[in-house]
Amino acid sequence: MSHKSNWPLWEVFVRSSRGLSHVHAGSLHAPDKEMALRNARDLYTRRNEGVSLWVVRSTDIITSDPDSKDAFFESPQGKDYRHATYYKASEGVKHL
């Protein structure tokens, strides 16, 4: 008897209510997309946590390389003028 199923891994995203984005909730194994969706409902929305679900095959997700993250995210470093808090001279001026 074989224990192996080798069902693909799926990532689950849940929209908790209208007006909000889908947020990653976790993952699960399922043989196909239909079962993935049903399992995601049973596993991640047992307490009305969602009004909409996405499931995506984990292998279909493209990720940035964790080892090169410093270089990859370098561009915004030192550019704090992109934040409102950079501008001090106008502090105290109303509605600004």
Binding site: M1, H3, G26, S27, H29, P31, D32, M35, R46
Partner: protein, 328 residues
């Protein structure tokens, strides 16, 4: 590439420059109380410890379904039956969250499952005690789930991201488990003399095993220090046990029942609870597989897996067929 490399990386006794860099990045993240994520470099012992801990935790949830599932058909009312079903479903869910977290460390689900089915993996020894009567459902919810919660809340801040996130979800759902158990005991304690006796008897049997759920005393728990240094564990076994015994010492008064520990008291000088000596020989014996229900629990799990084989095969065959017709 580089077939002339004298040694495989990682086999060398002297860490390479890259390894040293990676180790210091890892140490800095832990030092900053930040989180380690799946694709980060991590020391092999950290990966191994986490894989073992998370998968044992998952196995415990899966085996933990059994003592209570056994009472679903005999619950005293439809409401109690629905509650118990929801709780057992939650435990299945918690097992699945945790298996997913464990898998991010690189061991596949089928392998983890295999470790449980072949008896190579451990699970919490508490589930090798039998649930003899309805009052046990109360004692399990109040004491066993209570101890589990005391253990799990600090794990929400475990240094490994996926474990912490799974625990947040588990803890949110677990809080009803303890309350429903407490209310079962409360109903019994307010019932007939015989019912009250049943509740007391269940507490008497589950008190010591629940205190032992926190693991051996600190001076006999060799791996704790490393786990705490890695910030997987945030409090020691004894600290958590202290916290738990303090809570139930108060809660039992509301039940109008007692804990089977006559000399339990808070020592003002030492600032700690003094409870009876726990039977660690029994604990080790149950872990080794000689508890009242070890063989039965594992056999039931194997049976369920066997009986589900045709469902898994059918689903796999259907998926393959669907995929073919989509390609065509």
């Amino acid at each position: 590439m580089a077939p002339t490399t004298p040694q495989e990386p990682g086999l060398s006794a002297v860490p390479s420059y890259e390894e040293q860099q990676s180790q210091s990045r890892f140490d800095a993240l832990i030092g900053d109380d930040s989180r380690i994520e799946p694709r980060d470099w991590m020391p092999e012992p950290y990966r191994k410890t986490l894989t073992r801990q998370i998968s044992q935790h998952a196995h415990s949830e899966i085996i933990g379904m059994q003592p209570e599932a056994n009472w679903i058909t005999r619950a005293p009312s439809l409401k109690r039956k629905s509650i118990l079903m929801a709780k057992v479903q939650d435990e299945a869910g918690h097992g699945l969250y945790l298996y997913s977290a464990a898998e991010t460390l690189g061991t596949e689900r089928d392998e983890l499952n295999d470790q449980l089915l072949t008896g190579r993996a451990k699970y919490s020894s508490i589930f090798n005690y039998t649930a003899r009567n309805w009052a046990d459902m109360g004692a399990i919810g109040w004491l066993v789930d209570g101890a589990a919660i005391a253990n799990q809340v600090p794990l929400c801040r475990a240094s490994y991201g996926p474990y912490g996130r799974a625990m947040v979800r588990v803890c949110k759902e677990e809080s009803f488990h303890q309350r429903q158990g407490f209310e079962i005991l409360l109903s019994l304690s307010r019932g007939t003399e015989k019912q009250k006796q049943m509740a007391q008897d269940a507490i008497n049997r589950f008190y010591e095993p629940s205190l032992m759920m926190f693991g051996p005393p600190d001076d006999q728990s060799p791996n704790s220090a490393q786990s705490m240094a890695w910030k997987i564990k945030r409090f020691s076994n004894d600290e958590l046990r202290q916290r738990f015994v303090g809570m139930i010492a108060e809660q039992v008064k509301v039940l109008g029942l007692t804990l089977p520990d006559e000399n339990l008291h808070f020592d003002e000088e030492k600032k700690q609870w003094i409870h009876k000596d726990l039977n660690w020989d029994e604990f080790m014996n149950v872990i080794k597989g000689n508890g009242p229900a070890n063989a039965q629990r594992l056999e039931r799990r194997r049976e369920a897996h066997r009986e589900g084989a045709w469902v898994r095969e059918a689903a796999t065959a259907y998926a393959a067929k669907q995929e073919q017709s989509e390609v065509a």
